[in-house]
């Protein structure tokens, strides 16, 4: 199965779209998506959506005018952003690069369960995630940690150094939420063995990293008034106070060997198997280490892992499954259903993970029996709308050599075209990537 074009599309993207031409050299085609510019940056679907600054200006305005829910623009921006991102995954010519965008957006999860996140979640992906997915990890980390959406989601905008002028004068104090999750989830992970003191020190270093809602446009602002004075020690490394101390801490954490191991583990789990082969993790971590955290090089290293070409190792998440189904049916424009709404109904609403750890990346988390049956029910519904198409042709086009004879037989014996399509989408091989 090594270098099989269908496997390339299924594992590294969201499956084949209709009967689009297959790449003659799949590995070369995937690698080209890493080295070429991101077509998503110029995509029409994102053109009319606001920057985070513009969205925050609307948020500021609506906090004053308090429009009734039906007239608020905030919810509308969120809906348009979610639809734009999901629709782009259906049509992108660079699905591997786009999957990396989704992967890193999940690594640095923000959730609309946090106040103020909804109108800027899409801009966050465009501004902080998308430009850096093939760059250096430390730059991605820095972009995220300076972005208003993350600073608001994990409460850092409210965190005040206890001995800062604001801390002495007012009632507010330290909030360690962002610092803790940054260590645990975004960078070194608990495997690095940091302590509560390290969390507190890091939290103090980034006090004053905030959002200026009064600026035009609103955006990141370092507030010396709220910043904890004095140097801090994080994982044995001393950092000065001031904004530069926090910046230096990000450079330290963003290039730490434990961070590279953590990122390699997650990348291999996503692109190889739920239980990542240790040798593969070691290899990708080594690439990150040797290249100063070059995520493009790490992505290319994934393509060279023989295990990444073992077919059908990973279960599709609800979002993967929905996008893959719509791609297989080659739906376009008005035909494309309300993807974010469907993902929500199947248990994976966009920008709505319950915790900062994001969505789980293993089969066990998505095979609660009712969960699988729900996606099958949904597939049955959309099969009803697409039943003019021949299920056998779609099965052959989308799964190629991955299609099992049993599924082929079941499709050919189905009582209706709709049933035949539903059987394709309910087959074990279509549940996987």
């Amino acid at each position: 199965m090594d270098n099989n074009p269908i496997q390339a599309l299924v594992r590294f993207g969201w499956g084949r779209r209709g009967s689009e031409p297959l790449p003659s050299d799949p590995r070369h085609w995937l690698a080209g998506q890493i080295t070429a510019p991101d077509p998503g940056i110029q995509a029409d679907g994102f053109a009319d959506l606001p920057t985070s600054g513009a969205a925050l200006a609307i948020l500021r305005e609506e906090r004053k005018t308090k429009p009734p829910p039906g007239e608020s623009h905030l919810r509308d921006i969120y809906r348009r952003e979610a639809a734009a991102l999901a629709s782009w995954a259906v049509v992108t010519p660079a699905p591997f690069r786009e999957r990396l965008v989704w992967f890193w957006a999940n690594h640095f999860t923000v959730s609309v369960r946090g106040g103020g996140v909804a109108p800027t979640a899409g801009a966050y992906v465009r501004e902080a995630i998308r430009p850096h997915v093939t760059g250096r990890f430390v730059d991605l980390l820095s972009a995220v940690m300076h972005h208003p959406t993350m600073l608001m989601y994990l409460d850092n905008v409210q965190s005040v150094g206890p001995d800062s002028p604001a801390g002495i004068k007012g009632k507010r104090g330290l909030n360690e939420n962002l610092a803790r999750e940054s260590l645990e989830l975004h960078t070194v992970s608990p495997a690095a063995g940091y302590s509560q003191e390290d969390v507190t020190a890091y939290a103090r270093l980034i006090t004053g990293w905030s959002v200026d809602m009064q600026a035009d446009p609103p955006g990141f602002k370092f507030r010396p008034f709220a910043h904890q004075p004095g140097s801090q020690t994080v994982m044995g490394q001393s950092f000065p106070d001031g904004q530069e101390g926090g910046e230096a801490a990000l450079r330290f954490l963003g290039t730490h060997p434990a961070t590279y191991r953590h990122l390699a583990l997650k990348l291999v789990r996503h692109f190889v198997a739920d239980t990542p082969p240790p040798a593969a993790v070691k290899h990708v971590a080594g690439v990150l280490h040797d290249t100063g955290g070059d995520l493009g090089q790490a992505s290319l290293a994934l393509l060279r892992l023989p295990q990444a070409w073992n077919p059908l190792e990973k279960l599709r998440t609800p979002a993967d499954f929905v996008i893959a189904t719509v791609r297989a049916l080659d739906m376009t424009g008005e035909q494309v259903p309300n993807l974010p709404g469907i993902m929500g109904g199947l248990g994976q609403p966009m920008w709505n993970a319950p915790f900062p750890i994001g969505w789980a990346d293993d089969a066990a988390s998505w095979t609660g029996s009712e969960a699988l049956l729900r996606r099958i029910d949904w597939a049955y519904g959309i099969s009803g709308r697409a039943a003019a198409q021949d299920a056998g042709d779609i099965a052959t086009a989308s799964l190629g050599p991955l299609l099992r004879p049993e599924t082929s037989t079941a499709i050919s014996r189905a009582g209706s075209r709709r049933d035949a399509l539903a059987l394709l989408f309910a087959s074990p091989e279509f549940q996987r990537r």
Binding site: D155, Q158, S159, V160, P162, G167, K171, R172, G173, L174, N175, E176, N177, R180, E184, P190, Q196, L315, G345, L346, G347, P354, F355, I357, A363, A364, S365, W366, T367, G368, S369, E370, A371, L372, L373, R374, I376, D377, W378, Y380, G381, G384, E406, T407, A410, A414, G415, D419, A422, L423, A426, S427, P428, Q431
Partner: protein
């Protein structure tokens, strides 16, 4: 030939069994067969000091002045639990249970681990062990149930209520998952074909067959109206449905539910009201759904850890250690606050920040599993590996 295929499919799905058990009636009231056990996980770390407020502790005001509701007896005040503790005012339904002797809050409870990471701690809490395991302690408890306690549910004795199965209930024992459905559905025949297509698959095969069994069961137990109820995923609705499924004579005997929203790093005074109201209404709905079976039911409500005793800089609390657990049910020896209160004096705080833990959550689980199902010490050792030094708490149940 055709007929043979259909009957094979029916056997695959257990559908015949599901239909047959529809007319079964309630058996002897106090036989072990009728005991139920439900675990509710509060994901995100409930602040025990805010849910069951130790208003009699002189140090409470030192740390919590801004977060403590007025004393019992005043407008919007705490709901008294006997002079030292008070329930948060959003927990009025649970206060009624307490007054009826059916609610036992246990204070200063923690897991056996000391992680302050949600994700690690939830894994350990649900694994019931010192490391993350592939199975949860409730699944191993189901596997250890004596035959008489397993019931006759066609979907097996255990049920996860919600779209996915939590680690707590994952493992080798058969577990069904159930959540109200919202999409158009294939015909029974197409379901059968889908199940057959997936049958050889080790992951999707069992999951799909199990879900179909659960649906066959759920549809006849719940009546037609229920799945279309508004806000069908809201916790009280799920809890009420779970209660009705467990009440059935051939229903599951063990269930797990979960409810989130407890990670109150900021603005805790306001943000805690919603989750507490959901929990309160959920327990009431569970009792209503269970009907007479409430008398044979024990519910254990646990969270992964507590929160800091001190209020943080943003009107919230950060990740801590000791917290409160709740035990509820018709046979629970309630109407009192259990556990050993460590006090809130600075010298008594755990690591100078958290409520010191004095009760291991495994002791409560062991006490309930022994009391409800007669699980032996040896069986409880397999449920909680390495917990030999932790005896099950006695006296949690009246009978």
């Amino acid at each position: 030939m055709n007929q043979l295929r259909i009957s094979r499919r029916a056997a695959l799905l257990g559908l015949t069994a599901a239909w047959q058990f529809g007319g079964a009636s309630l058996a002897l009231a106090d036989a072990p067969t009728n005991r139920r056990f439900i675990v509710i996980i509060l994901r995100g770390a409930l602040d025990g000091l805010a849910a069951v407020v130790p208003y009699g502790d002189p140090n409470l005001a030192v740390w919590r002045a801004d977060l403590v509701p007025p004393e019992p007896g005043t407008d919007g005040g705490l709901l008294d639990l006997g002079g030292r503790f008070g329930l948060h005012p959003a927990l009025a339904g649970m206060h009624d249970l307490f007054k009826a002797g059916e609610l036992l809050p246990v204070h200063a409870v923690a897991g056996h681990y000391r992680s302050r990471s949600h994700f690690e701690a939830q894994d350990y809490l649900e694994s019931g062990a010192d490391q993350r395991m592939d199975s949860g302690w409730l699944n191993r408890a189901v596997a250890a149930l004596p035959p008489a306690a397993r019931g006759t549910s066609p979907g097996g004795p255990a049920l996860a209520v919600g779209v996915s199965v939590p680690l707590l209930l994952r493992g080798r024992g058969a577990v069904g998952a159930w959540a109200p459905t919202g999409f158009a559905q294939p015909s029974p025949d197409l379901y059968a074909r889908i199940a057959e297509l997936n049958h050889p698959d080790p992951v999707t095969g069992p999951a799909i067959a199990e879900a179909l069994r659960e649906r066959g069961f759920a549809t006849q137990t719940l009546g037609a109206d229920d799945p279309k109820a508004p806000q069908r995923n809201a916790f009280p609705t799920l809890a009420g449905s779970a209660g009705r499924m467990l009440a059935a004579a051939d229903g599951p005997r063990v269930a797990a539910l979960e409810v989130g929203g407890w990670d109150t790093h900021a603005g805790q005074r306001n943000r805690l009201v919603g989750p507490l109201t959901q929990l309160d209404a959920g327990l009431v709905a569970l009792k209503t759904g269970l009907g007479d079976a409430w008398r044979q039911t024990a519910v254990l409500v646990v969270t992964e850890f507590g929160r800091t005793v001190r209020v943080n800089g943003t009107g919230g609390t950060d990740h801590g250690t000791g917290t409160v657990a709740f035990i509820a049910g018709g046979g629970v020896a309630g109407g009192r606050v259990g556990g050993t209160w460590p006090g809130l004096a600075e010298a008594h705080l755990f690591e100078n920040r958290d409520l010191a833990p004095t009760t291991d959550v495994r002791a409560l689980a062991k006490g309930l599993l022994a009391g409800q199902f007669g699980l032996s010490e040896a069986a409880l050792e397999t449920v909680f590996p390495g917990s030999g030094g932790v005896a099950g708490t006695t006296g949690l149940l009246r009978v």
